[in-house]
């Protein structure tokens, strides 16, 4: 019998990917603590968090490469660690890092090998490998040893491998890390297509902005615990930006002189730090704890200072991330 999602008592299909109260400890260290997650057919669930948050551990639990210390992990209604070969056939994994290929042999030979491990005969494996290479834009590099691939190319090859068998569950760990924007967009489109055809996707990332317009649901992990679970707009709503990049104009003034005038106009609502060179008109506006952005800008304009542009120093998703994880830029964990 083909493994598939179980039915709930109310008759609705159970999520394709489901974690309930999962904890995982490594000795005294708790990598995941009481984490729950559900991804339905066709859904993309973003998993974000800083380094060491537990994202990779969670994905390894889903792949069955790791047992949970407690809680329940189910994929298509089955426990991954006891997964039958038929179940593994339906899971595609894009691991983090690029150490997952045979570097001395070509990209196409690697894909053919993994396709054969999925039970395809050589001719079919070759056809699927060519298709997957084309999908990720690596056709021309297919005959080159993987050892000669750039990091980004190996990532794309990794995605191609996961696409070989058109999986029902796609587990993606930092797929766009180190990819150029075009390559990253291409990978997201491929995964979105897979989700569009009904696959459940768990997408772990640190690139917060890529979740906007891509993930249906976001789980934010920090030190192994869920700090947020909801939609991307709900995550954005958590943000309270306090720093803005502003471009000012006031007659012939520029540089520190312009900044000093503007800061007097702010009257304690915030401070200005000049960005760029000595004649720059760009400043970082840091609002004081009780100040409101509108009032600060109004104070500037009432003092005949033109505010040419104003935008958040970081995206609202980043702000939310930092607010929820308690991290600050440049801090080391």
């Amino acid at each position: 019998m083909e493994p598939g999602p179980a039915q709930r008592a109310d008759g609705a299909a159970a999520p394709v990917v489901e974690l309930v109260g999962v904890s995982r400890r490594f000795g005294a260290k708790t990598a995941l603590d009481d984490v729950s997650l559900a991804v339905d057919r066709g859904g993309i669930s973003g998993l974000i968090g800083p380094n060491g948050a537990g994202k990779t551990t969670l994905l390894r639990l889903l792949t069955g490469l790791l047992d949970p210390s407690s809680g329940s992990v189910r994929i298509l209604g089955h426990e991954p660690t006891r997964a039958s070969r038929a179940l593994r056939q339906r899971i595609g994994l894009v691991p983090s890092g690029d150490r997952s290929f045979y570097l001395r042999i070509s990209g196409i030979e690697n894909l053919v090998f993994f396709a054969r491990m999925h039970g395809l005969r050589r001719r079919a494996a070759l056809a699927e490998a060519r298709r997957a290479l084309e999908e990720v834009g690596l056709t021309d590099a297919g005959r080159r040893p993987v050892g000669e691939y750039s990091h980004g190319m190996q990532k794309r090859l990794s995605v191609a491998r996961a696409l070989l068998t058109r999986p029902d569950v796609m587990l993606v760990d930092e797929a766009t890390h180190d990819l150029d924007p075009g390559g990253a967009r291409r990978v997201r489109e491929l995964v979105a297509d897979i989700a569009g055809s009904g696959a459940a996707v768990v997408w772990a990332t640190q690139r917060l902005d890529e979740l906007r317009g891509f993930a249906d649901h976001v789980v934010l992990l920090s030190t192994g615990t869920v700090r947020f679970s909801g939609s991307v707009p709900d995550l954005v709503a958590q943000s309270v930006a306090r720093r803005y990049v502003v471009r000012l104009r006031n007659g012939g003034l520029d540089g520190e002189e312009l900044g000093a005038v503007a800061e007097r106009l702010l009257a304690g609502r915030g401070t200005l730090t000049m960005l760029g060179g000595g004649s720059s008109a760009d400043y970082l506006l840091s609002l004081s704890p009780d100040a409101v952005l509108g009032e600060a800008l109004a104070a500037l304009t009432q003092g005949r200072m033109d505010v040419l542009t104003c935008h958040e120093e970081r995206s609202e998703v980043e702000e939310a991330f930092l607010a929820l994880t308690g991290e600050e830029e440049g801090s080391e964990r």
Partner: protein, 285 residues
């Protein structure tokens, strides 16, 4: 019977599917080995130089201390050639089996492989299938090269029985290799232990000198050494021309030892893999 038949058919079909994956491993490892072409040729040259060294050592050895096979006293080079072939076979085989899985772990492909719907046994077998083909060919080439170069005399009637001994010996080496692989998976390092084990077995095998030269207790211990048993049987077949009659007793001893070794290998590896999954250290090395 009606209920059992579909189950049996399904298992047969699954086993056939798994067997069908082995050529993919063979191709992968051949392509990898071929990418290091120079190693092929240096290996062949090293084999020849090793034989040449023993040819000169043989000039110093008193033939009276060497045993007779089929009523004729062998030359030292004939005597040692069989010993070298088998001990090198064991060393290479054991080392490769033990490190095949380790290599997958180090280059990071083990987890990707375990994520495919491939049985653990297939991964184990597949990881060494190239060596299972290459090492016997290499051994045969060794015999052919030194036979031609140094004019050694091997009994043609002993070729097939010798091959049979070799085939019965392979699972023994394989089982030990898988046990070493399990130890490596668990302790992350284990090649030192493998080398030590091979050195002990080789010392007590009579590969390079007659076992009569060992102390009596060591000679008794050597009677249970599968490498010594295999070497002696192959010498009887290739140098003494004993044919099939000379290997019956050997096969009776080797086959159960090989089966036991293989079973213990699979069990320890499965246990090691389960432990690594539980601990979450499968990708660590």
């Amino acid at each position: 019977m009606s209920a059992a038949t579909p189950v049996v058919a399904r298992r047969m079909s699954a086993a056939a599917g798994e067997l069908g994956k082995l050529p993919a491993f063979l191709r992968r490892d051949f392509l990898t080995a071929w990418s290091y072409r120079a190693a092929f040729f240096t290996d062949a040259a090293a084999l020849f130089l090793q034989a040449l060294s023993f040819y000169f050592v043989g000039l110093m050895v008193n033939p009276e201390v060497l045993p007779s096979y089929g009523g004729e006293r062998a030359t030292y080079l004939e005597f040692v050639a069989v010993g070298i072939a088998l001990s090198v076979f064991m060393h290479l085989g054991l080392g490769r089996v033990a490190t095949a899985i380790r290599n997958e772990q180090v280059i990071g492909t083990l987890e990707s492989l375990l994520m495919t719907p491939t049985a653990t046994a297939t991964i184990q077998i597949g990881s060494v299938v190239y060596d299972a083909v290459y090492i016997p060919i290499r051994t045969a080439m060794f015999f052919a090269v030194i036979g031609i170069a140094f004019g050694l005399h091997f009994e043609p009637s002993g070729f097939v029985p010798a091959l049979l001994v070799l085939l019965a010996f392979i699972p023994f080496v394989w089982g030990l290799g898988i046990m070493s692989a399990a130890a490596t998976l668990t302790f992350k390092r284990g090649t030192g232990g493998i080398s030590f084990g091979v050195a002990i077995l080789t010392l007590g095998s009579g590969a390079y000198f007659p076992l009569d030269l060992l102390p009596e207790w060591a000679q008794t211990a050597a009677e249970a050494n599968p490498l010594a048993i295999a070497i002696d049987a192959m010498r009887n077949a290739l140098l003494g021309g004993t044919g099939w009659s000379g290997i019956g007793q050997t096969l009776l001893l080797l086959v159960p030892l090989s089966a036991l070794s293989l079973w213990a290998g699979f069990m320890t590896f499965r246990t090691a893999l389960r432990r690594e999954r539980r601990r979450g250290s499968l990708g660590l090395y």
